[in-house]
Amino acid sequence: MKPRIEKLFENRKDDQKVMSLFITAGYPDLNSTVDLVLGFEENGADIIELGMPFSDPLADGPTIQFASNRAIENGITMSAIFGMVKEIRKSSEIPIVLMGYINPVLRYGTEQFCKDASESGVDGLIIPDAPIEVSAELAIEAKKHNLNLIYLVAPNSTDERMKQIDQLSSGFVYCVSVTGVTGARDGDEIARSVVRFIDRVNQNVTDNPKLVGFGIRNHKDAVTISAKLDGFIVGSALIDTIRNRYPDPDWFNHTMDFVKDLKFGKIEHQK
């Protein structure tokens, strides 16, 4: 069987942007994660990034810090996350990428982690604090267990480094749109600085599909910023949407409306 992420990008049509959604596993509660993921898929998500919460998320802004803390308070564990993925796999083939910090991975044991992730139905890994310098072992184990290892490029990455990251990545390359932590931002702030960066990405990252993330709040941001790329990633704005409504009875449906808007734009799907 073909790897799920590869298949997704092969089947993508030029005018369709891939939408990857980040949700912290165990947020807002342990029982919602599976339903959220399945709902995201139903409403237009193409890839799921499932966040593995960490107590000290130093690359994240307040929103994901909050969600991580809440998930840890809720009692999330690595084996619970694998259990969620297995549950999702009973009814869905959506590509699932685990995203989180290196320490919980090392603590679990890199080899065991890759093995269990793969067996649960995980497709890839994004570990932002394990850049290419320090992830040799992770890369070997990921490859052995057929997991895509997705690295990030940043606006201040040199051309040479982008090429190197492209070579070592598989699945896709995660393009960080701004220097900073995760979190929704004013759309204009991103648009201004990002044009030149995306041109450089397109020159240097040629082997892998490219998704852009950090700071995207809505459909308009998403289409603008990903115009010359394969797709976009939304995390904080999604979690903020949940946080503003949960646990009102309509929080779930409200979240799904947000996802639909994100993918298709408000006006189009209301027609």
Partner: protein, 399 residues
């Protein structure tokens, strides 16, 4: 023994490395290059050492502790007087060094984290001296227990930002400083206050503090005609200890002891004794020992001393622990506070509570020493900043 760490890639054995988001990699590469350049730059070296001499007040004294020596009745005890440095602790050696580096690199804005406030004060001082914008991140709990240092930093013109996430202590202040750095990496230099963080920080900070050990070596050789038998220093992240130990590491006759804060006891969950009970993991950019649970979530440390209240430790200490070149022990809050009193009483020196942890180990070590042996304690900081905690601790107890 030959001692040559870290490797070019920044590893002390398997510890260290650069576990940081991609955004910081270019900054670290730039920093490595700039730092390497200063090592062979006589102008930089002269300016740094002139500042240490004329502004910091180096060399600091090496005082014979005659009454402490009499009290234990065994080996001779000397004190390396880092408490006499301008701003009251060793931290300024490094703050000045990194600030000069920042200036050379054309950075205009300085950020730092602080626990006890000593590194914050040292950084704010250096920024005032050189006219740099300065932002200090400090845990809300630490701001409370080290209020005097908060006031000092503000008077020196620094902006002190209160950190209310997590345990509201040094760990969280460091997270917040790194987030600032990631956001403002173009114009901002992060002056890390200990031998922690991604490469080249642990190496660089060690080298800016090695002056402590270099001076001690010269001073003890002059006083005693040989190297000491024992060195003792407290270890949080471990900057004063590594600076003190480093020039002696290749002389295996010198026994070295690092003292961690055991809090309420290394066998309780209220402790900061990282090497005693921790296991390897990654926090704040490098692989070292950590206090973390079975899921890899960082545990909250506890120590009465804000400067030692940290669930990690510098990667070089992790390495020295593994190769057994330095031995590490824990001292509880109670033992440390007893030592505050003892050293004040016997030597007329009020040590910082951090430093008192090193002194407290004398109770264990001294009975095992011989009269012709020499012990040097690194008196890393003075206790003025701790007077509130000290007064509260002893209130109702007989002084």
């Amino acid at each position: 023994m030959e001692y040559k760490v870290p490797s070019k890639e920044g590893y002390f054995g398997k510890y260290g490395g650069k576990y940081v988001p991609e955004i910081l990699i270019p900054a670290l590469i730039e920093l490595e290059a700039a730092y390497a350049e200063t090592q062979n730059d006589p102008l930089f070296q002269k300016e740094y050492h002139d500042l240490l001499q004329e502004y910091v007040g180096r060399p600091t004294k090496c005082t014979f502790a005659n009454r402490l020596t009499d009290y234990f009745g065994k080996a001779k005890i000397y004190l390396k007087r880092e408490d006499l440095c301008h701003t009251g602790a060793h931290k300024i050696n490094n703050a000045i060094g990194q600030l000069l580096l920042a200036r050379n690199m054309g950075k205009t804005r300085i950020i730092a984290e602080t626990g006890a406030g000593q590194h914050g004060v040292a950084t704010a001082t250096a920024c005032a001296k050189f006219g740099f914008e300065c932002v200090i991140y400090m845990g809300a709990e630490d701001m409370e227990r080290q209020k005097l240092n908060v006031d000092r930093m503000r008077l020196l013109g620094a902006e002190v930002r209160s950190v209310t996430s997590g345990s509201q202590t040094l760990k969280d202040a460091t997270n917040e400083a790194i987030r600032d750095w990631v956001t403002n990496v173009e114009n901002t230099f992060y002056i890390i206050g200990s031998v922690v963080g991604p490469h080249p920080y642990p190496m660089m900070t060690r080298n800016f503090h090695r002056v402590i050990g270099d001076e001690t070596k010269t001073q003890i050789r002059k006083l005693e005609g040989r190297d000491p038998d024992y060195l003792i220093a407290c270890v949080g992240g471990g900057s004063n200890a590594i600076g003190f130990f480093y020039p002696f590491i290749e002389n295996e006759d010198v026994k070295m002891i690092g003292i961690e804060a055991a809090g309420l006891g290394a066998d309780t969950d209220q402790t900061a004794a990282t090497l005693t009970i921790g296991t390897p993991g990654v926090l704040h950019g490098s692989l070292s020992y950590l206090l973390h649970d079975a899921e890899g979530q960082i545990q909250l440390a506890h120590s009465i001393s804000a400067g030692l209240d940290y669930p990690g430790i510098g990667p070089e200490h992790a390495y020295l622990h593994d190769i057994k070149r330095v031995h590490y022990y824990g001292i509880t809050d109670e033992e440390a506070m007893k030592a505050v009193k003892l050293v004040s009483d016997k030597e007329g020196i009020i040590p910082a509570i951090e430093t008192a942890h090193a002194f407290a180990y004398l109770e264990t070590l001294m009975p095992l020493t011989q009269k012709d042996e020499i012990v040097v304690v690194n008196c890393s900081g003075r206790g003025d900043k701790d007077m509130k905690t000290i007064s509260e601790w002893f209130s109702g107890k007989e002084l």
